[in-house]
Structures are given as C-alpha cells and as structure tokens.
Amino acid sequence: MTNRLVDVDALAARVPNGAKLAVFKEPCVPMDLIRALIRRQVRDLHLVTIPAGNFQAELLIAGGCVATIETSGVSLGEFGPAPAFTEAVKSGALKILDATCPAIYAQMQAGEKGQPFTTLRGLIGSDVLKYRDDFTVIDNPFPPHDPVAVLPPIKPDVGVIHAPLADRNGNVWIGRQPELKTLAHASATCLVTVEEIVDFDLMADERYSAAVVPEFYISGLAHAPRGAWPIATPGYHERDDDHLAAYSSLAATPEGRADYLNAHVFGREAAE
C-alpha cells in the first residue's frame, strides 16, 4: 500500500497522451485528478463517459485534453449546457461517438467479463446506431431470430474514481455506486482518490466488504479530501452551486474558459 499512496499529480502522470480514459457520473467524482490532468497538459484523450458526461468531461475538453468523446450526453445538469463540449462538437475539433446510457453500461460489463461483444435491445432504426461504425446488427441466433444490436466491449486504458474510503492495504470502498466496481474491473489501470484513509481492513468488515474494490484492481491511490469539489461527495461535502453557476456563465466564451482554468486549475497549483 505505502508504495501506492501517492499525490494527485503523481496519479495524473500515469495517464499517457492518447489514452482511453473513463470517467463516471456525478456525484463523487475525482475533480482534483481531472485538474491535475489539465495542468499536466495531457493530450488526445479518448474520453468515455459512464454513462453520461458532466463537469469532468467539460473541463477536460475546455483544457484541450480530449480528441474523441464516447458519450450518451454531456451537460452541466441544472446549470445548463456544457459550453466547451457544445462548441468543440460544432466546430469539429472534438470527434463524437454518440451512444445511449444502457449501451455504455452493457459495453463496460462486456469489458469487465472479457467478452468479445454484448447485445442490447432498442437502438435499431436510430441515428445513434446509424452513425456508430463499431455497432452492428445481427439476427438473434435463438427463436424468434429477430434483429438485435451488437456492441463492442469498452476496455478503458485508465479508469478514474473518487471514493469515500481506502484502507492501509489499498482496498477502496466505493459506497453506493456499484457500477464503479465494474469500471475498476474493466479498466487496465484504475486510479483512485479518496476522502479518507482508514486504519481498519475494509475487506474484513462485513459492513463494507460488499462495496469494496480490492487492491488487486487499484493501480494508484491518492488521499484527496474534498477531491470532488465543486461536485458533491455525499456524506462529506455539498455541491458548490455558486461555483458551478459562475463557471456556466464564464464558460460561454473561450476567453472566459481560459480565465477560469487560470484561476481554478493552473492557479490552484500556484496557491498550494
């Protein structure tokens, strides 16, 4: 464990340019690590949002880190559209693979299980399917032999997670978002930030063990209290609504986004 506990910038250094990087939906997301990735100026990421994108995706796009996005949708929720995402798709600067939420979950499960493909109902007749060269339709091999969409597995090079707890052995307690376990299993490298490091063995405690990702799957771990800011971590801190509303209005222009990044991403390092 001790050799795995590093700081957030050291985690960011482990994400190579061009990596397929998977991020999970809010709340409890590794914003400190996202900021460190922007500071280290990682480039040409293939970003996969599980299943939809939020402030993490928006900020990575604003920071110029993303070449391709595979997503069911990107928005800032009640704070409105994601301006950097919207602009980059319209200009063609960002390649988009439009998906649908259950497809991404099913593809991630296929990646976890090491299977060559998965199938999903729906999709047939949609332009989501039409524009995905990597999706296809086969006949159900079983009666009634009806058409069914076939999707490739999602196997991220790197999955990033913010979680409530880790123990001294490097086991991570993910709390109430069970899909994070699938994400950790499917990703070749899983990088984790946590609110707290505890002194007991999470695997040995029945109250925690069902929601633990064992250290076997964890490639790097950093202690990052309030690491999801300005997004909430339930049980630890609330969402910073004023901050997100301010981003939403500032981010309407490229200059505004640059000012934001200078103040809250690049400037944050200088302040520390």
Binding site: A52, S72, P102, L123, G125, D146
Partner: protein, 257 residues
C-alpha cells in the same frame, strides 16, 4: 384563501397524472419537475384508492429513499425486464411520427445547434410500454415535420422487438395521443384558453383530431389541493427551487410531510 383556478403547470401535472392511471412503476428523468409532480400525484391517488395497486415512483436525482434512483444500471435492467411501466422523454425536436431528437439541428455531427445527447432514449423508448412525451414549449421549431437526427424512432418494423413506445405528447397547448399502427398523433384535447387553430398554427406536423376533441378537463378542487400540499412537499426533495417558487414549499418544511 385558496386560489381555485389552476395554473398551466398544475393543469399539466393533472393531465400527466391521468395518463399514468394504472401503472405500477413510473420513472422520471433529470430536470423534469412537472412530470415528476404528475407521477407523484398519480401515486397519491392510487394510494387513496383501495381498488388500485400502489405506484412506485423513481425520480432520478432524488435523495428520498422511496423515490431514489441514480439512473444507473438498475433503471435500465428494470426496463429490460418489464419492471418499468412508464417513463418520460422529450426532444429538442419531435416529429409527426414521434421520432425524437436530443442531439442537434442540421448536419451530423457538426450541427448548427448541438444539444447534450440521447442519454437513455435509444433504449427506453423501445422498452417502456407507456412513454409520455413532455415538451412544455409548443412551436414549429420544436414540433417539426421531420427530425434532423433520430435519437429514438417513434415506431419500429414488426420484426423488431419493441414492447414500448410513445403513448401521448403533452405540451403547454394540448394533449395528443399517439397511434402506433398509423404512426400519427391524434389531438385529444386543447387546454383552456387555447384553440384548435392555435395548435395547428404552432405545430409543424400534420395530425389527426379526435371526434370528441374538446377542452382539457381542468384539475378538480381535490386534485389542486393534493398538488399544492402533498405533491409540492414531495417534489421539493429533487426540485427545491420548483417547489418553493410554484407552491411556496421549502425543503425544510417539506421534510415533515
């Protein structure tokens, strides 16, 4: 003194609740306070009627245990197994064949207008038996002859497995039902204060008109009372600003309900 006339939002909540009559489990997506309120009204009505089964309401984003769903795998698994009877979808564009577009306007992918994305629609529209399309703003920009991108189609060929699909379209002006055989909307009623001509004028697609099409029945006094007390209190959890601005109910006060 209680105001006896319904606001447009209260009317829409009541219309949606009536469309949900008989469902066992309804889920509500993000940013949907009016569909959420309609689902909670339907649930309260079923709860008071000993002849009706209880209604489970799942509101994505709610922190209250009875309504909690995080929009994760469970929601889609429920739909795949037939454990979800009703859901709400919308669209930046909706056309006369009930195709919905949540992606953008113009050529794909470099569209002139880009919205967030299709989210769960390209699956749930096929799988949930009673999908209610809710689009409050009713104009020709939104209700178009043909969508620019099909996030999910209104109907499917007979050989495609499709237990679900659109049942109705609710807007600020009117209520349409959807005929899956004919792939056409049918105007069922026009909300008080609006006219058939106005609906035709503001709708970009051709539609049928029900022989008995009349004015939408406004909420009863009992329905209004329920909306303004019980529903307002419960919707304050996922949508505190909505509950406070429309019904004067604060989240703190609602915790006692």
């Amino acid at each position: 003194m209680i105001e006896n006339s319904a606001t447009t939002e209260e009317l829409l909540i009541d219309v949606i609740a009536r469309l949900l009559d008989g469902v066992r489990h309804v889920a509500v997506g993000v940013l949907s306070p009016i569909p959420g309120s309609g689902a909670l009204l339907a649930a309260e009505r079923a709860h008071r009627d000993p002849m009706k089964p209880e209604v489970k309401v799942s509101i994505i984003g709610s922190l209250k245990e009875p309504y909690r769903t995080d929009g994760g795998v469970d929601l889609f698994d429920c739909a795949g197994q037939g454990r979800l009877d009703a859901f709400f979808l919308s669209g930046g564009q909706i056309d006369g064949a009930a195709n919905i577009n949540l992606v953008g306007v113009g050529d794909y992918p470099q569209s002139t207008v880009r919205w967030s994305g299709s989210f769960g629609s390209a699956y749930l529209y096929y799988m949930v038996p009673r999908v209610i399309l809710f689009r409050e703003k009713h104009n020709r920009r939104t209700l178009v002859e043909s969508v620019d991108f099909i996030s999910a189609p209104g109907t499917s060929p007979a050989n495609v497995y499709r237990p679900g699909g659109p049942a109705a379209l609710v807007t600020e002006l009117c209520l349409f039902s959807f005929d899956r055989e004919r792939a056409r909307f049918r105007l069922e009623s026009v909300h008080p204060g609006h006219t058939l001509d106005e609906v035709r004028d503001q709708t970009g697609f051709d539609f049928d008109v029900a022989p008995d099409c009349g004015e939408t029945v406004p909420p009863s006094a009992e329905a209004l009372e329920t909306i303004r007390t019980i529903v307002a209190g419960r919707i304050a959890d996922p949508y505190p600003q909505f509950a406070e601005s429309r019904f004067g109910v604060t989240q703190e006060a609602a915790c006692g309900l």
